[in-house]
Subunit: 209 residues, 2 copies
Amino acid sequence: MSSETSQVEGQRRPGRPRDERADAAIVAAALELLGEVGVHRFRMDDVAGRAGVGKATIYRRYPSKERLVAAAVASLVSEIAVPDTGSTRGDLRSLMRDAVAVYSRPHAGGLMAGLVEAMCHEPALAAAVREGFLATRRRALERVIERGVERGDLAAGLDLQLALDVLGGPLFYRLLITGGPIDGQLADGVVELILTGFGVPRGNHPKGA
Amino acid sequence: MSSETSQVEGQRRPGRPRDERADAAIVAAALELLGEVGVHRFRMDDVAGRAGVGKATIYRRYPSKERLVAAAVASLVSEIAVPDTGSTRGDLRSLMRDAVAVYSRPHAGGLMAGLVEAMCHEPALAAAVREGFLATRRRALERVIERGVERGDLAAGLDLQLALDVLGGPLFYRLLITGGPIDGQLADGVVELILTGFGVPRGNHPKGA
DNA sequence: GCATTGCGATACTTGACAGTATCGTAATTG
DNA sequence: CAATTACGATACTGTCAAGTATCGCAATGC
C-alpha cells in the first residue's frame, strides 16, 4: 500500500520494476514540504527535487498533485492500541502522551494546518481524515472512559463528546493557535481535570473515609 | 481604519473622494470568499465581482492580495469587555457564550482554517492574529479567573495556561476537526469542568456536608 | 471650466506551475 | 538478444491568475 497504483497480487508486469525507495522518498518529501510550506506553495517540482526523483516518476504513481497530497496524508494513519495499565488515570495518560508525541513531530503544526484548511473545502478529504486519522484515537479514548465508568472512577452520566473534545482540543489549540508547549504537563493536566471534573460525586470515594 | 491607505487627518486630497461603501464591500466580499473557498482559491477577480467593484478599486486600496487578506482578517478584531455578573460561573459562561457566537458565524470554519494555515507560514500574520484576535479574549478570561481565585471559587495554584486552553481548545477543535455542535451545552460543560476541576479542594465546600 | 482623483469595466502582460513529452539509460522477463 | 517498463533529467505546452493599463465617466476643489 506504499504506492497508489494497485496491482493484482502475484501477477507481475514485464520490464523494470518500480523502485520502492522512490515510493518512500516521494511520500516523505511530500510530507516534509506540506509541513514546511503548506499546500498553498506545494510544488511538484520541489517534491521531485527533494525526493531526488524525476517528475515522471511521481506522475507514474499519482495522477495529480491532489492525489499525491491525499496519499501522503493517508500514510500518516496509524494503529492505536487501547492501553491497559490497570488504572483509568494510567490509561488516559498513556493515550494522551501518545498524542503529545504525534503533535510534537517535526512539522506537525504546518501539516495539521494545511490538512484542516483542505478539509474545509473538500468534504471527501475531511471524511477520510476524520475516519482514518481521528476515529481510531477517539475510539480508544472512548473505551478507556467506558472502563473508567465501570471502575467507578468516572461518573456514569458524563458527556462523552465533551470529554473527548476536552482531551483533544487543548493539544490541537496549542499546536495551531497559542503556540504553547505540548508536553507531559499538558497531557497530565488535562487528564487530572477530566478525572476531577467527571469523577463520581464526592463522599462515596472508595478509599476515603 | 476601514481602508489600508492611511491619510493624515483633516488634510484632504483634491479630486473625487474614495467611496466608503466600496471599502466595506471589498472587505465583506473578501471575508466571504475566504470562508467559502479558502485562501488557496481566493481570486482578486472574484472579490471584485462579488463586491461589485472594479479591480483597480481594490488595488487602489491594497497593494497586493496578501495585504487585502491581512486587512480583511484584521477587520475581525473586536473589543471584548470583561463581564461582571457577580459570580465566577456567570462570568465564565458569558465569555464562553460570546465565543460560541463568534464561532457560529457563517463561514467561521473555513475562515479559521485558512487563517491557521496562513499563520503557520507567515510569522508576521501569526503574531498579528495572536495579538489582535486572541489576546483580548484571553486577557478577559484571565481576569475572570483571577477574580474567581480571589473569590475562593478557584484554586490559587491553578495552571492558568492550561485553564485558558481548556476553555478555548474544545470549541476550536469542534469547529475545525470533529464538526461537533458548538452551542451552549458545550460552553456550559467546559465551564462546569473548569469550576469543578480547578475548584478549591473539597471538604470545605460551603454548602455541602 | 479645469485639474485631479475615483469609479466600473475590460483588455493586456507576465510569471508561475501542473502536467506532458522526450532522451539516454537501467533493470527486468522470456 | 529483444521487448518492456522504470529511471532521472530537462524541455516544452497550456492554463490560470496577479497585477497593470486604459477607457469613458463621475465627483470633488479651485
